[in-house]
């Protein structure tokens, strides 16, 4: 009996789907995801949409923070830029959603490039503060650049459509989210196998050493910023089209923290981790919601405490994972898998 998965060539090592079992279970997952709208109710699909959007945003942030090691506290602002770009393009210029979405990603990437410029000069703590400042400056612009963003009133966005098919309900929109999320995850997973991905990891591990090996820091750091904000922009565009409205309150500093929490809980530098983290962090408030709803008769005041309780739980999750499981859920998943692979001889 094979007691492990041994690779004999680089080609095998670089394959995305390494074994038959991986392919099989991915196939099962795909079938499940495609038939989910047929069996799930609106609430389930609403959650599924939220998870899909969160996955795209989290993968983007993980490319920047987890893989390249550049901390960003302004991810929500890029999501917002994408959201506003989509809304403005669709309502003011009549661009169909299908073109507005990638364009919005491009706009967010451009803003990300500008915000990324300090990363060429400073790193660590200082970069973290610079992106934090960017978050607040962009948030202020969302509120006060009224001629474009319509301030706190926000912009109403029509649902996307192809011909007569209008993606208005959770059920139909789910397919858009699914396709975009799968594309996004696949692209990210692939990019990590290329020259770019290796450059990202090298910069994270030691930037000076990476530069000595001939990696152009200037270029790859900006690429990472642009890529990450592109993902954020796409997530924002989807969010806006899903919610059918965009206002400044949708992209607060708290959302940036939520995204960071996703990649920390999921696993820094791991695409699988971003997916786990996004699912986990979307499910936690929903579970909390269910719990507060179920105990309403016993503790009537509990649902008013929903938001602060969410804060406490998110904060505790960040702290606990950082202290006890810095590699996140992805690492737990690996350990679980290897436990069964190697059982009963786990040494």
């Amino acid at each position: 009996m094979r007691c492990g998965d041994f690779k004999e060539s680089y080609f095998e090592d670089e394959k995305i789907f390494q074994t038959f079992f991986v392919k099989f279970w991915l196939g099962v997952l795909c079938v499940f995801l495609v038939v989910l709208p047929l069996v799930g109710n609106d609430y389930v699909l609403y959650i599924a949409n939220l998870i899909g959007i969160a996955i795209i945003g989290a993968v983007g942030l993980n490319l920047l923070t987890g893989c390249t090691g550049q901390i960003s506290l302004g991810h929500a602002a890029f999501v917002g830029v994408g959201g506003y770009a989509t809304a403005v393009l669709m309502t003011r210029y009549g661009v169909p959603f299908w073109f507005a979405l990638p364009l919005a990603g491009g706009v967010a990437a451009l803003v990300g490039l500008i915000i990324g410029i300090p990363s060429l000069r400073v790193k660590g703590l200082y970069l973290c503060i610079a992106t934090l400042a960017a978050q607040f400056i962009l948030e202020w612009i969302f509120v006060h650049w009224e001629s474009v963003t319509q301030g706190i009133r926000g912009i109403n966005v029509p649902p996307p459509q192809i011909g007569d098919l209008v993606f208005r309900t959770e059920k139909t929109f789910y397919y858009i989210t699914l396709v975009v999320a799968v594309l996004g995850v696949g692209f990210a997973r692939n990019i990590l196998r290329t020259k770019w991905g290796r450059a990202f990891f090298a910069i994270r591990d030691r930037d000076l050493a990476a530069e000595m090996m001939g990696i152009n820091l200037f270029r790859y750091k900006l690429v990472a910023f642009a890529l990450s904000s592109f993902y954020a922009g796409i997530a924002g565009g989807l969010w806006v089209a899903f919610m059918k409205v965009v206002t400044p309150e949708h992209f607060p500093f708290g959302l940036s923290i939520e995204y960071l929490a996703m990649i920390i809980v999921g696993g820094l530098g791991s695409i699988l981790g971003s997916i786990f983290g996004a699912i986990f962090m979307v499910m936690v408030p929903e579970l909390l919601n269910v719990v507060t709803g179920a105990t309403r008769e016993i503790y009537p005041g509990l649902d008013q405490l929903f938001i602060p309780m969410k804060d406490v739980i998110f904060g505790s999750l960040i702290v606990l994972f950082l202290i006890f499981e810095p590699h996140g859920l992805a690492e737990m998943w690996h350990r679980l898998k290897s436990f069964f692979t190697l059982w009963p001889f786990s040494y």
Partner: protein, 332 residues
């Protein structure tokens, strides 16, 4: 000044059209400063800017204390402020004790909180990458914010009168009582801290740890207790800052947002410089107040909260170590 009017009109027009953002700002600034009447408010702006700046300096001191001792940027400072202000308010209103007693209780609570947090949350992360340490303070901020909201409900509250209400009239400017006493209070605290640092054995131990941990350890200084002390002192400065600001503008859960604004103060002054924190506090206080008067009308309000962050970005781009910080930035 009969030529002032066209300028004002032009400034307003540019503002409404908003063709060119920067031109509008420049014209507007120019127009506003030569307008009759607004000349008189400049001393007023300066005085209140300095007063607010003093409080910012005190809060910034909390950041600097922790950064010097442990190289951690405590992003939960704002929540320490809120918590301190709420504890003080509760002690005042439920125990009905005079303010000095409530202050002592609050400071004791803050010191204890600082020590506990350092021991439980920060110490396991010594030597971890910077992202973990920053994120843990963010997580901490989230926890504290939620807990504060659960315990004290998110409503806005006003602070009971603890300082004499008469404002100070300087003839050319009037200082509201809250600002005046807050400023004095902050100054006293800062002087106490500065003297402690300079002239006591504890202060010496803290300075030694800041300059070289290994050397300090081998000289018999307990670096662990210095860490704990730094956190408790930082919690104390934050609590005092929270009480002062709560006294000026009332307490709500959003009081803590000022904690992030103060980041611009420490970046401007230099992350590891106590002098920088104080001077930076004054500069940011002034800039913010000027922006609040001159830029708000042009850009549609709220500039007070965003100008510090703009300053922060500019400083990070041109001089990341700030005015007085040590130049140990590694160029990449």
């Amino acid at each position: 000044m009969n030529w002032a009017e066209p300028v004002v009109v032009y400034g307003l027009l540019t503002m409404f059209v908003k063709v060119d953002f920067f031109r509008a700002v420049c014209r507007g600034l120019f127009a506003a400063s030569i307008q009759e009447g607004t000349m008189d408010i400049i001393p007023q702006i300066i005085v209140s800017g300095l007063a607010v700046g003093g409080v910012y300096g005190l809060i910034a001191l909390g950041f600097v204390l922790i950064y010097k001792a442990t190289s951690i940027l405590n992003l939960a400072t704002g929540q320490f402020m809120t918590l301190g202000a709420f504890v003080c308010l509760s002690v005042l209103s439920y125990a009905a004790v005079p303010f000095p007693v409530a202050l002592v209780v609050t400071l004791g609570f803050a010191a204890l909180l600082g020590i506990i947090i350092e021991r439980i949350i920060l110490r396991p992360l010594i030597g971890e990458p910077i992202i973990s340490v920053i994120m843990v303070t963010i997580g901490l901020a989230s926890i504290l914010k939620g807990l504060t909201q659960i315990i004290w409900s998110p409503d806005y509250r006003s602070f009971p009168q603890i300082f004499p209400p008469e404002p100070l009239d300087l003839h050319y400017a009037i200082v509201p009582s809250g600002l005046l006493w807050g400023f004095l209070f902050a100054m006293v605290c800062m002087v106490i801290f500065a003297l402690t640092f300079q002239y006591t054995r504890t202060g010496l131990a803290m300075r030694a740890t800041a300059s070289n941990q290994q050397a300090a350890l081998s000289m018999g200084i307990s670096v662990k207790s210095v860490f704990a002390l730094s956190w408790s002192l930082a919690a104390i400065t934050a609590a005092v800052g929270g009480i002062i600001i709560g006294n000026i503008s009332g307490i709500s859960i959003h009081l803590g947002d000022i904690g992030l604004k103060v980041l611009s103060v420490i970046i401007l002054g230099g992350l590891d410089s106590i002098v920088g924190a104080i001077v930076g506090g004054f500069i940011i206080g002034l800039l913010e107040n000027f922006a609040g008067v001159y830029l708000d009308t042009l850009l549609g309000g709220g500039t007070k909260d965003v100008v510090p962050f703009v300053v922060l970005v500019i400083i990070i781009m041109i001089r990341p170590y700030g005015m007085f910080g040590k130049q140990i930035i590694e160029r990449v």
